[in-house]
Amino acid sequence: MLRFVFTRALLVVPTFIGMTLLAFFLIRLVPGDPIETLAGERGIDPARHAALVKAYGLDRPMLVQYGIYVERVLQGDLGKSMITQAPVVREFAALFPATVELATCAILFALVIGIPAGMLAAVRRNSIFDHGVMAVSLTGYSMPIFWWGLLLILMFSVQLGWTPVSGRIGVQYYFEPITGFHLVDAWLSGEKGALRSAAAHLVLPAIVLGTNPLAIIARMTRSAMLEVLGEDYIRTARAKGLSAVRVVAVHALRNALIPVITVIGLQVGVLFTGAILTETIFSWPGVGKWMIEAISRRDYPVLQGGLLLLGIVVMLVNLAVDLTYGLINPRISRSS
């Protein structure tokens, strides 16, 4: 067991090195001289240019520069934003909880609706419900979520006035950001209406972001359940006279959930992708919007740092999923 954990954890190292290489070299691909890019339109006089080149270490060999970069990354220094001059890591840490809160609510939405829908679709195979779930799931999978978000805003915020259009909370509320998660902080602060406002702001973005994972989870649950329901031990359970509910919910679901859990974990990458678009539409102050703004402002340290940090997060989540899967399914951990 320990050996399994150790070997899996060790595989993370080459991926991490590869990501730092990618982040380092991608930025070097930017056309033009980096110092001149920093200087912008004002231009820079040659003596200062030479001094800056030395200061940034740009005259050293590429491999040495990469070594310095990795050393800094391991110490937690990913450079400073060119626009705000704040350390990239600090900006990321300030904005990341907003994205995590949104992603968590989105995946909860996807699970609460997706798993029961997939289960029922498998149990009532080839019924109208089954075809309906498959059709909705395929539509959700093919949906351009930036359009879906605009449509929902049009319908629910503008026409019906049920939900707010953008932001995380009404401007009239203020509370100390203890955890960074507005739902928790609003509840802790005890301010009247703050929790309700935070929740209302979360509804539409969570639905929009959760649509794609919902589709995938529903499909995956259905196909996993179908496979499990065809197994011999299910037939035995039915022959023993167990009720249908017990057979499905206790015996079948537990085994069907194993591949579903893996899929859930792997959705994290999809969630970050979707978060970039969702945060742009709903003006949600998270890391996705931060990256988009960095592009229009050509803030390369933010782009480089953001890419690396998000990649590391996804990598760690994948590792956690791998280990969890190995723990749940003893065949995997024993064989390695």
Partner: protein, 298 residues
């Protein structure tokens, strides 16, 4: 008993193409998807003749006109006009051309590069294989849109760079399929026999191995077109893909965002086109996978 009909009549069994078409045809969704894809292709091919106006033609007397069936609309602009008086229907039809071009170009580039990398990784094992597969793992780990926007941010916004970025993001799928096929086929007897008979590596790659991974590659290609169209539209929406005044559906949505209150048609129709096209390609891809997967053969 489940015997094929040809067994009883003594006729020759159906060839692989007919068998494939029979399985594909039984899937109603796949057929509907194929019909829609065919319609979109026709729209794209004959766009200059079908569209009532040129896509860039502005009409200063008709800003933000609603669709024909609403009050204030006219049948001269059946789906309405946008903020600078361009006919929406014409732009949508020309957008089909652009989107199909994007989908096909991206997938072609990705497949060709993916096959080459997969073959190289599978045949010349060792360090080359490790390096290639690690790179593919990293591309798969990073969120796809994030990697695409960083690539476009570096190379500069524009349609070509957006297509390149999406092609890079799609690459790992084809590399993995090809490499897996190489590894599973090279251990088989017929490949060993060919090698003993003196066949060189290149011949082995192209004649023996490649035809055997054609089926999963075709399925992945169809699904890849839908992903490419969706990702390119997302990049267009973020201002990083096709630049205005190009009539790309995602770019049209970016322009339309500020009119969500006043002009619902400018927001609804481009997105609907994206949804329908992507859905159609996904249905076709699913149908292909079900028809080509031998485990599902009854």
């Amino acid at each position: 008993m489940n015997l094929p009909a040809s067994f009883l009549t003594g006729a020759a069994p159906p060839g692989p193409w007919r068998e494939f078409w029979g399985s594909f045809r039984a899937n109603a969704g796949a057929v509907a998807g194929l019909a829609t894809v065919a319609a979109v292709i026709l729209l794209a091919l004959f766009a200059p003749w079908i569209a009532p106006y040129a896509p860039q033609l502005t009409d200063s007397s008709a800003f933000l006109k609603p669709p024909a069936w609403q009050a204030g609309g006219a049948w001269s602009h059946p789906l309405g006009t946008d903020a600078i008086g361009r006919d929406l229907l014409s732009r949508l039809i020309h957008g089909a051309r652009l989107s199909l071009l994007i989908g096909v170009a991206v997938v072609t580039l990705s497949i060709v590069t993916g096959i080459v990398l997969g073959l190289v990784a599978g045949f010349y094992r060792g360090v080359v294989e490790i390096a290639v597969m690690r790179l593919m793992d990293i591309i798969l780990t990073l969120p796809s849109l994030l990697l695409a926007i960083v690539i476009v941010a570096i190379l500069g916004p524009g349609l070509m760079n957006a297509m390149l970025a999406v092609a890079v993001v799609l690459l790992p799928h084809y590399v993995r399929i090809t490499r897996a096929a190489v590894i599973s086929e090279t251990s088989k007897d017929y490949v060993v026999a060919a090698r003993v008979a003196g066949a060189g590596r290149l011949r082995l790659m192209l004649r023996e191995v490649l035809p055997n991974c054609a089926a999963p590659l075709i399925v992945q290609a169809s699904l890849g077109v839908s992903t490419a169209i969706l990702d390119a539209a997302a990049l267009g929406f973020l201002g990083l893909g096709a630049q205005p005044p190009a009539a790309e559906w995602g770019t049209m949505l970016a322009d339309a965002r500020e009119f969500v209150l006043r002009a619902w048609w400018v927001v609804t129709f481009p997105g609907l086109m994206i949804l329908v096209t992507v859905l159609a390609f996904n249905l076709v891809g699913d149908g292909l996978r079900d028809a080509l997967d031998p485990k599902l053969k009854r």
